[in-house]
């Protein structure tokens, strides 16, 4: 049986600048971080890695954030392997009501305060340590 990797955070955003900035800030906060620029790449990461937190942009080429959520929901992963999913969007009023509330924990509005975002993600990772990092 293939051993699953454990990484703290997956950052999914098609904006190179946002992805790089968020990952750098998370790394400075001593969190391990993977990143993906579109939905298909995000699903590849999610297939073989357990994340404590996923930061998910919605509007992306190829496969968007909603598509990632639809596919991920079908996997039926056990509760202790599910990440905290935070959708990051500039269109919260329009898009948040369409998201599955049992799968997506929260919506973070763009533009966001990077320090606040890192603090919340760090808090989630710390709370999930010993759960999400099981091999």
């Amino acid at each position: 049986m293939k051993t699953r990797k454990a990484v703290n955070v997956l950052v999914v955003d098609d904006d190179d600048e946002v992805r790089t900035m968020v990952c750098a800030a998370l790394t400075r906060a001593d969190l391990s971080c993977d990143h993906a620029s579109h939905g298909e790449a995000a699903l590849e990461h999610l297939r073989d890695t357990d994340y404590a937190v996923v930061l998910l942009d919605l509007r992306m080429p190829t496969l968007d954030g909603a598509g990632v959520l639809r596919e991920f929901q079908l996997w039926g992963r056990s509760n202790d392997r599910k990440p905290v999913i935070l959708v990051v969007t500039a269109f919260a009023d329009r898009e948040a009501p369409l998201l599955p509330g049992d799968l997506v924990q929260a919506v973070i509005r763009k533009p966001f305060d990077l320090g606040e975002l890192v603090a919340i993600v760090s808090g989630c990772v710390n709370a999930r340590r010993g759960v999400a990092v099981l091999p």
């Binding site: 990440p83 935070l86 959708v87 049992d102 919340i120 760090s122």
Partner: protein, 116 residues
Amino acid sequence: VSAIAPKTILIIDDNEQTRVFLGATLARDGYVVTEAGDSAAAVEALKTGAFAAILLDFRMPHDGVAMIDYLSESMPDVLAHTIVFMPSVNRPIWGVLPKPIDAQALLLTVGACAAQ
């Protein structure tokens, strides 16, 4: 309720990931958070502690309705400081928040509730 420490919050939600997010976000804002994964744990927490605001997921299997009924009958002052995750309930609660949770709205709503 005025004697209750203003930064004490009880989270009642069967979704572990949601409790993790709420706990991390509210702790970041200086709140002291107690978590309950079902109504039995919530009743225990309410027996031993007092909270400035309660966050309740109405859609827990059976438990959301039972919890509202329990608070309505036994702890109406607590119900008056309860924020429910769902469109609306016909009870004298503090307010409602939809899921998924808007992080900004969460802090504004909890802050207003806890300050009363």
